[in-house]
């Protein structure tokens, strides 16, 4: 039961772990932008996704994150992906990519629908992977410290930067606690005969309810207690405070962010200029034979 790893910090001592969290957050955001760029042709899109995948794979290798972890998290998303596919198939798509008829029933299945679904799946996987890298290699406290630093300019327009950072750090802090709690309640209900894995749909719903209700109640209770504890210690969000841990920018951070920026620049150029690398490669290869 205890194989839920989303958002859990895993203490190794890799280069990625030692990088400045500000760098990691910026790089992550840029990488996410990259996923949403559109290129001139379908093969080109998949080619770029493939490259991004390779980058992600290398980063995960360096950070000692096992690929299995990523896929175990995808399990929950299969239903969503399936629904997406159905919706995409039913809604009339873009005819320019062509279509075929579904076993002569007159129902047109557009290739664009299939491509779109595939894009979404790939994007989801890469996004999950990237956020996994961030949360597995960076302590929650570091993440919020970095966020607070990154959002500093917003203070000018009276945006409550510190409060937001605090809220996020609390939320992150409670992820492992809630996971432990989930595990505990699942076990407690299992000893009352709840079967979370097998059973009919109705039984499954009951099983989930028996988990969710106590989980929410304990979460609310915890948050109330925490608020009281903070107040009792005189926490004042508007007070000026110093930091125990100060972020340090190293050469490795400069290198990392440069690579990411070059990647960004390159891919945007490819996208805007509508350069089809795949077609070029294909034509080169063809001219050889």
């Amino acid at each position: 039961m205890n194989n839920i790893t989303l958002g859990k910090y895993i203490p190794y001592n890799s280069v990625i772990h030692r990088m400045d969290p500000r760098n990691k957050i910026i790089s992550m955001i840029i990488f996410m932008v990259l996923i949403f760029l559109k290129f001139s042709s379908v093969p080109m899109n998949f080619f770029i996704y493939g490259c991004l995948f390779v980058v992600l794979f290398i980063v995960m290798k360096i950070a000692h994150i096992r690929f299995r972890m990523l896929f175990s998290q995808l399990k929950a998303l299969w239903i969503m992906i399936f629904i997406l596919l159905i919706v995409n198939l039913i809604v009339p798509g873009d005819e320019s990519y062509g279509y075929f008829e579904f076993f002569n029933t007159g129902w047109k299945i557009y290739y664009s629908a299939i491509y779109n679904t595939l894009y979404i799946i790939v994007r989801l996987i890469i996004m999950l992977g990237i956020s996994l890298v961030l949360t597995a290699t960076t302590k929650p406290l570091e993440i919020t410290n970095a966020l607070e630093w990154l959002m500093k300019p917003l203070k000018v327009i009276r945006f409550p930067v510190h409060e937001i950072a605090m809220t996020i750090s609390l939320a992150l802090r409670f992820i492992p606690t809630l996971l432990e709690e989930t595990d505990r309640i699942m076990k407690a209900q299992a000893s009352r005969g709840v079967d979370f894995e097998h059973g009919s749909f109705k039984e499954k719903v009951r099983a989930i309810i028996s988990l969710i209700v106590p989980l929410f109640i304990s979460a609310f209770q915890r948050s109330g207690e925490l608020a009281d504890a903070m107040e009792a210690r005189g926490y004042d969000p508007s007070a000026v405070r110093t930091k125990y841990r100060v972020n340090k920018w190293h050469t490795r951070d400069t290198i990392c962010i440069s690579i990411v920026l070059i990647l960004l620049g390159g891919l945007i150029t490819l996208s805007v200029m509508k350069i089809d690398v795949v077609a070029m490669i294909v034509s080169v290869v063809e001219s050889w034979f």
Partner: protein, 300 residues
Amino acid sequence: MPIKFSHLNYVYSKDTPLETAALHDINLDIIDGSFVCLVGHTGSGKSTLIQHINALLTPTSGSVDVNGIKVMNKKDKKGFLKSLSKEERKHQNIKEIRKNVGLVFQFPEYQLFEETVLKDVSFGPKNFGFSDEEAIKKAKESLKLVGIDESLYDKSPFELSGGQRRRVAIAGIISLNPDILILDEPTAGLDPQGSNEMMELFNILYKNGTTIIMVTHDMDIVIKYATDVIVLKKGDIILECKPHSLFLNDEILKELCVEEPKPISFAKDLIKNGMKISLENVKDTDTLIEEICKARVKYE
């Protein structure tokens, strides 16, 4: 339903940097009709040990045998099942264990979820295939046993006090009529009277033939109720004995950082000064007085 641990090891988060070995090579027999107390420092592996008995955790290696049903990890179990005939394989059902072994977790009040107390308590029996009426009947019986008033049956469990909620949660397990009842610090955080009532309830179940396995830090409970004591330290069983011999073993008492219960130290002093009473019979103040009377009678 005898329980047999053989060469059981358990490691949390195996193959990650967070790997912790919680139990090492545990060998243990628990016979029918015993009242076993598990003691040990915090983090010594008590909770981990008991969760194996109803297969909530599966051993990293080794096995637990509960009335012939083996709890093993997937790989070992596969091999084990292969060695059985078809008939025997049918018997190896984990759900069967869960039905016969009731486990009450530490702070069980956090597992309540139904709209009413009665519904919550009958949830377990229903899961194990009893009809609605039977489940309700069982629920009412066990609520009565734990001392929850009938006027509370239709209340939401979240409107009750902490102590009442604990009772309801325990009733939720007792309603399964388990042959083995495992309790993880059931009296933690209760007032002395509530704690006594709770213990008396478990004692009644014990007298009715239920095997009780209890994790506790309270030596008064150990001496009063236990038939056997198991002392855990950092994942090893360092002592298995009768309760009174625990209090003759100064080393262990020091190790556990506990004071002996008052009646015991009193009795020990009396023995030291020449009074002939048998320490095995001293369980609480009442039995101590009885022993003293007996000794006096002999003396006169």
